[in-house]
Subunit: 205 residues, 4 copies
DNA sequence: AATGAATGAGTGTTCATTCAT
DNA sequence: AATGAATGAACACTCATTCAT
């Protein structure tokens, strides 16, 4: 993001014409990157999806790596905010987890680490660090929630950071075409997955 | 990487070296595909890694899609065999799961579904089906084991297929660079993950 | 051809040179295609002949098939216009035929149908149809002229379309290196050929 | 042709198994070259059509240029013999021309000069000369027949060599897909073409 | 006599990037 | 602010050719 745009009211903007090209590109590219990964998204493709020219994309973003980085930071920010809002909100932990899971699983996208691995050779150290930091914050957020719940005896004690990663990893089931789409709704799947994590495999006496 | 090896002249080699180039290519390419995904692996790259020329790769495999397909089937076969051996072997279910998890997590690679999504546009319907079938068999194997365990009361009842997918998904934690490599050994992580799945979050009274 | 011209750096040229690259490429490629046929002309070759790069050719034309199609339509259009101008102009039919023959034979090129046969596998149905249509119009033009002449008793009655094709075919003599270039001028050859067609072999009493 | 094969009885051999690979390759390649031209025929393709390997083709023929040359000489020889047989045979000149025309037009193939132009850059001077000579003999044969007919007053006097080339050129109508195949049988077309050449366009009083 | 295995050079095509306007 | 026009590097793939067996 090059500079500070005049602040816009929250909520999705109505139509592209009204949006600053800045943001339009960012949103569009973010969507494409999340859906197809780094390599498969060409700047030509981004430009076309925005109804502008490739050179215009370069006007706003130095290069592909930069655009990618900003896109991911943008997405991570949103994910962070949404997750924070839900997880810090009211309700039982299990219920809040379910909401997060459902949200997350609803838009199938390339697994984060895979995307990073794909993109990494094209990114600078600094850029990688930035993205890693953004991601880390999300895990820290979750692990703090988990840690607190452990303190309070709401859930069994374990490594909260690992729990956060595991929880996130479980949601990649959204990508498993053969399970979803064919057999289960996302809503049902996410419910069952959270249930699984909650109860564990070991039968309760 | 500019070491100038005097490239072999064309013609049949003097029959000496170790592995059939057939297999050498398959193994090498499989490794590369699993590590970097479909797009990032160039046949030039595969060739170089095998110390042969691109044209030679084409001598053995019709095209990239074919090579990719055979690589995945190769990998899936191995994974299936290993998993079958372990899961049908002796020991408590939890212990067997742990072994599988450890094995699986030890070689970090691109998440399967992400790779498929990336490669799919380049593959034929038939090839996609073949790979999907190979993958499905692994899940069927696991879900049969799980179903039986449920029958026997070893684990709580739930959808065994979903459980299989979830279990697999959990192991993508291997890719989370920031968790592993930095903080935890794979051995420890897999143990904790299986523990998590086994006990669940809800505290036992 | 190893003269090292310092290749222009990328970016927009300083707006000076003569022809639109658009047309330059079309003309150059048309010439090459007509002279060497579809396969033998590489886009690299076209680019070099235009003193630009291959990628620049792609900037103006989607792919080889498209460029080829546009070239042929371009050439057919010119041929049509020239032929129409002459054949619908004043003068005796025989004289007009002579002029057309001379024009046509003056630029030796690959026989049309042979070129189409060569190129066809690479073209889309639509593209083939377009070219065929362009070609057909030329034959329709000629056959209408012939039909009218037959009506008026200027020439003997026969199938006018076949006559058009035959007339066109006769002009492929231009390609017969051993006859022309060595022994006869094109001017003389075309005159004799038209004479031949006009009088026929059978002696007049 | 590398050496003198034990002489075979005339007529087409029953099946490939009985044929010397020598000849099998020659015939097959000749057919392919005549049908598709020089560039489009790959030695791999020739080999496959012969049910042997590419290396075997190389065993019998030094390289593509050599094979091509021998194929054309082979075809020209046959054409010469057939033409000689017919043209020196009994019957009115016009009737004999018709038979030759029909034969020639029946197997549509790449126009000779076009093929030569395509292949020439790959051939040695010597090879080009050989083929040109073979072709020239055919034209000499025809022009001698024509010259004699002119002497005898059977046809009008003109340049007999040019007549030969023109006659040959007229038969390239066989390639005009839009005329033949759609509207006329080859038999009919050849008859009309010979008629055209015979009578000429100018009405007889 | 016949071939399996290898190569180098070339082709069509895509794409990130640059630069004058 | 925005873009049209250009490039170089890479990639998938093909093919004529070579050589040890």
């Amino acid at each position: 993001m090059k500079e500070e745009q005049p602040r816009r009211r929250p909520g999705r903007p109505k139509r592209s014409e009204t949006m600053q090209p800045n943001l339009l590109i960012l949103r569009t590219a973010a969507m494409l990157f999340m859906e197809h990964g780094f390599e498969k998204v060409s700047l030509e493709g981004v430009a076309k999806a925005c109804r502008i020219t490739k050179a215009s994309v370069y006007y706003y973003f130095d290069n592909k790596a930069k655009l990618f980085t900003e896109c991911l930071l943008f997405v991570l920010k949103i994910a962070y905010d949404q997750t924070a809002l839900i997880m810090r909100g009211p309700g039982m932990l299990k219920e809040r987890l379910l909401i997060v899971a459902e949200r997350h699983m609803n838009n199938a996208h390339v697994e984060f680490e895979t995307m990073m691995r794909e993109a990494a050779p094209g990114l600078s150290e600094e850029q990688i660090k930035q993205i890693r930091d953004g991601e880390a914050q999300l895990h820290i957020l979750l692990s703090e929630i988990f840690a607190q719940a452990m303190e309070e005896g709401v859930i069994t004690k374990s490594d909260p950071l690992l729990l956060s990663h595991t929880f996130t990893a479980m949601m990649t089931v959204r990508n498993h075409k053969q399970l979803l789409n064919d057999q289960k709704s996302v809503k049902q799947a996410s419910a069952e997955i959270v249930q699984l994590l909650w109860n564990g495999l070991q039968p309760r006496s």
